[in-house]
């Protein structure tokens, strides 16, 4: 049986905390970009302009068909050199991290756009008709009537997706970003205490995600009564 030795964790806490901050930053960036870009994609997909809706459908289906690991590898290994040669950046300028985070956000936007599209479609058609009847343009009725209601209904789903996204951030491990998981792995590897550090990382993720999903559920129930 393995002899547990947790002594390397207390000293490593500041380093692990830095990793957690990076994980949270990536999560926040991706949620923000995902919701904004996802809303645009959803509007494009629902628009009556065929090329736009076709383009959005292709984007969403492509990103949803490819594993996140592949997307991250694309944006970590291929896109930086492509950017270097296209923009004439000096060789070796480090765009890889920014590129990996961008790839992550673009990937998550595809999932957000599907949630948002369903949210927009769940708003009764009469709302749009009523807004048009009041003389609002398409943009005004979307912005002032449909989207506010859609987002109110979607909040729990968007938050749940945020929790999934937070779990997904651990995959930036493939791009050598020192997020929380990467930091835990590094410490474990350095001290020969991989077992303890991995168990610790699992426990931390569990506590965060479990608590967050409980809060979302509580909020969801409250919304239901209202």
């Amino acid at each position: 049986m393995h002899e547990f030795d947790w002594s390397s964790i207390p000293g490593a806490l500041p380093f692990l905390w830095d990793g957690m901050v990076i994980s949270l930053q990536i999560t926040a960036t991706a949620v923000l970009v995902g919701i904004v870009w996802g809303t645009l994609l959803a509007l494009m997909r629902l628009s009556s302009i065929t090329p736009l809706s076709w383009l959005a459908a292709a984007y969403v289906n492509l990103f949803r068909a490819v594993p996140l690991v592949m997307v991250l590898l694309w944006f970590f290994l291929i896109v930086p050199s492509l950017l270097e040669s296209l923009l004439g950046l000096p060789r070796g300028s480090d765009v890889r991290l920014a590129s990996a985070i961008t790839g992550f956000a673009l990937f998550e936007a595809a999932y957000y756009s599907e949630i948002i599209r369903a949210g927009i479609q769940s708003v009764p058609k009469g709302q749009m008709a009523a807004a048009s009847a009041l003389g609002m343009t398409y943009g005004q009725s979307m912005r002032l009537v449909v989207l506010p209601q859609a987002f109110r209904n979607m909040v729990p789903l968007l938050l749940t997706q945020g929790i999934i996204l937070f779990q997904d951030t651990s995959l930036v491990y493939v791009s050598a970003l020192a997020d929380f998981f990467g930091a835990a792995y590094k410490v474990g590897d350095r001290d020969g205490r991989l077992v303890e550090l991995l168990l610790f990382a699992g426990a931390v993720y569990f506590v965060i995600c479990f608590t967050a999903s409980r809060i979302v559920r509580h909020y969801q129930n409250k919304l239901k009564v209202a």
Partner: protein
């Protein structure tokens, strides 16, 4: 852009000389398929049992099932994979751990990946099974019990036959997910599709061709699964329900 496209690279013999690069990709493709399908079968079996347990009146059983689902849903897949691969052999009794560590590394990687994907997915399948059972009108269960069926009989003859047909569409997306999630297993060195793609980049110095080919392979899997499941969905549809005949 000064990039030399060379699609012929796939037909060249590999640096180790025993295969072509296309052969490597095909090996990875087979690995992804084998891994995902075997994990999927286990996930279906465990997920069905756990999903049913979540709906039974016994508080201990449903409590256990809830805990199972929460654990596997709230820990990232990558962390779970590392726990299975690096941590489990250390926590087993020494003799077992050593026996495991002495087996062929490919077998170790495959087993850890399969168990990890299977249990990770089983928690999601269980949630679909539960929501399928809960979506049935409560009268169905009451009627079954009133007819003198025991609780297991009610599940066997009344609830499950309906629930199974209702949850096929949501299971389709879980089935697609397991193929995509299998790419995570490249991180422990299992040579599946994504890992072969990475290896091809290193060996051939033709990154675009390699990654495009691997991405297309994933798209192909996706399309095949989607059409296959659409066929299944059409055959199990329940008349009178949304999407039914």
């Amino acid at each position: 852009m000064a990039y030399n496209w060379n699609w012929g690279v796939f037909l060249q013999p590999t640096a180790t000389g025993d295969d072509t690069y296309l052969g490597w990709m095909f090996y990875g493709f087979k690995m992804t398929i084998t891994l995902s399908l075997s994990a999927w079968l286990i996930a279906l079996a465990i997920g069905a049992v756990v999903g049913v347990l979540r709906t039974v009146p016994n508080r201990w059983l449903s409590g256990f099932a809830t805990a199972y689902v929460e654990v596997f849903r709230n820990i990232p897949l990558l962390v779970q994979l590392f726990l299975w691969y690096f941590v489990l052999p250390e926590l087993l009794p020494v003799a077992w751990g050593d026996a495991l560590k002495q087996t062929n590394p490919i077998v170790q990687q495959f087993l850890a990946s399969m168990v990890c994907l299977a249990l990770f997915t089983s928690a999601r399948v269980a949630e679909q099974v539960r929501s399928g059972i809960n979506s049935l009108p409560p009268g169905q269960k009451n009627a079954g019990l009133a007819m003198g069926f025991t609780l297991p009989q009610t599940y066997r003859f009344v609830l499950l036959p309906m629930a199974v047909r209702l949850i096929v569409p949501p299971l389709t997306s879980e089935f697609l997910n397991i193929f995509k999630n299998s790419a995570v297993c490249s991180t422990i060195g299992l040579l599946e599709l994504a890992a072969e793609g990475r290896q091809l980049v290193d060996y051939t110095a033709q990154p675009y061709e390699s990654f495009i080919a691997v991405t297309l392979a994933y798209l192909l899997i996706n399309v095949v699964v989607m059409f296959g499941m659409r066929w299944v969905e059409a055959h199990v549809r329940v008349p009178g329900y949304i999407g039914g005949k």
